[in-house]
Symmetry: C2
Amino acid sequence: MGKKQVTFADIAEYTNFSKTTISRYFNHPDSLTLENQEKISRALDELGYKKNKLAKVLANGKSEFIGIIVPNLYLHYYPEMLTQLLSSYGDYHYKFLVFVSDNGPEEEENYIDELLAYQIEGLIILSHTLSSEKLASYHIPIVAIEREADHISSVTTDNYMGALQATSLLIRDKCDVLIHINADVPKHIPAYDRIRAFEDTCTEHNIPYELNLTVAGDSYDDIFLQMKLIFKNIDEKYPDKKKGVFLANDTYANMFLNLIIQKYGSLPDSYEIIGFDNSPIANEAIIPITTVGQQIDVIAKTALDLLVEQMDNRKQRKPDTDMKIKHKQITPVLIRRDTTS
Amino acid sequence: MGKKQVTFADIAEYTNFSKTTISRYFNHPDSLTLENQEKISRALDELGYKKNKLAKVLANGKSEFIGIIVPNLYLHYYPEMLTQLLSSYGDYHYKFLVFVSDNGPEEEENYIDELLAYQIEGLIILSHTLSSEKLASYHIPIVAIEREADHISSVTTDNYMGALQATSLLIRDKCDVLIHINADVPKHIPAYDRIRAFEDTCTEHNIPYELNLTVAGDSYDDIFLQMKLIFKNIDEKYPDKKKGVFLANDTYANMFLNLIIQKYGSLPDSYEIIGFDNSPIANEAIIPITTVGQQIDVIAKTALDLLVEQMDNRKQRKPDTDMKIKHKQITPVLIRRDTTS
């Protein structure tokens, strides 16, 4: 322990140049003679000076930092997305400053101020607390993933297409009644399209359907208690019908499946179940669950491409000051397992 | 889009000071008269200059950056640990540069070089690729979490105590034979203590036991196929015994439970099951699984405390160049659910 960073003062003393000259060497080397550049360069080797990227950043403004703000890492989705974003280092060599933000807009504004003070070149935002209008007002390269993004570029799963595939499969499998179980998702959130597609598809095929948008709360145990009641109601209400149940995510789908198995000992032909996300739980459930898989790797790559485009534009001599915002949707994939026929 | 960062050159032009004077204002404000400090400060407001922390870092060496290297974010453990580390921002105000490293030692050395070039003040390392001897040779504040750490400070779960609690519960519940299912963990990894504690405790209580350390591979489907065979063997070998099965993690425990339920329709009295980690799957399984919960929040906080101690020492006028490395163990908590009596 205790090897100290070599400072400008150390270099100045060692070379008999002034600190200003040393500073010039790092920031504007061309302002020194070749001879003096070489003297200082040799001294750096002899002193064991370590490359200091921050000095370079100050000179050219390219920090190579991208900020990421995620709301949490509790479910499968955000950790997987973060992994995909961080793993892009091999392709782009951007470094990532990561914040977890789940304490409201004031905290999030603080985080953004911190990120700006460290000269991030761009920001990827997955949290929901600040409006895209507010985010746009920072005038930095920015891309939203799976959130409201009226005023900034964004990438989302094509939620409509995902729910349409799930609903169509339940109809093809000749379910008599279709049920969608979800939270009361606000209409401006991309995931609302799952509800819209379910209704549209049922209506179009003249299939009786029921929307249950009452699930609320964050804890597994809370939600499981609610799911018990929902299952009981459905099970009693449609005793002789084949029920196709499409749930908002795989955690809900696994709960529903467990409740069926606990009551019947196995999955009766009168039930089909489809989840969403392709979380590990969908595969690890007592019966592997059919689900809609988001292409998280493609979403991450698309978001970075959009961001790099904006950041590269900034580095032009004459940046295009009127770059259009872009919205990309990535089609999810229906993964058929053992809870559908 | 397009609002540009105000540069030292802009400020110099606006104030008629030289760029050197402007640089001095940021790095050694005391070297300017109060009057000139105020002139420049006013100009910064008028120009809309944004605080540039990097300039300050160059002056005082305190980047407020901590590097984190995690091997992956696939299982529950690493994302949860990362969340806890990142959430410490509210207490410490350190910013985190995060790398995911799972491509071997060369990649990891590159990452560390990058982190050092950005003047990180300390490093938290969760990946396994570099030896602690190599890591110690960087001579930076560093803390390892749950990995080999002979030459650097570390925090680990008290794996021995966790496995002892699990094994003791199976013995108290009067199991006739105890079985531990795990991968062939190398002896220098902290998790090896789970195997050691299981054997010690069985031996001490004169309970017949079996070690199965054959699980290998990364994919769920691969491991599930292996678990099918392991279950079949155990189920046939001990038909009339009460079997206490302690598994290396909750994913294995859930597989084993599902295989029992698929065969018997419910969990017979002749089986008790305990997992490790308190992952979501332990609670979301068809029958909630008894498990050993790691105190991830305490581990993260302890690691940061150790790291801050080292970083603060660095900032002393006379750093203690002979700081002792410290190893802390955090006791895990046995969480009793429905797969034990």
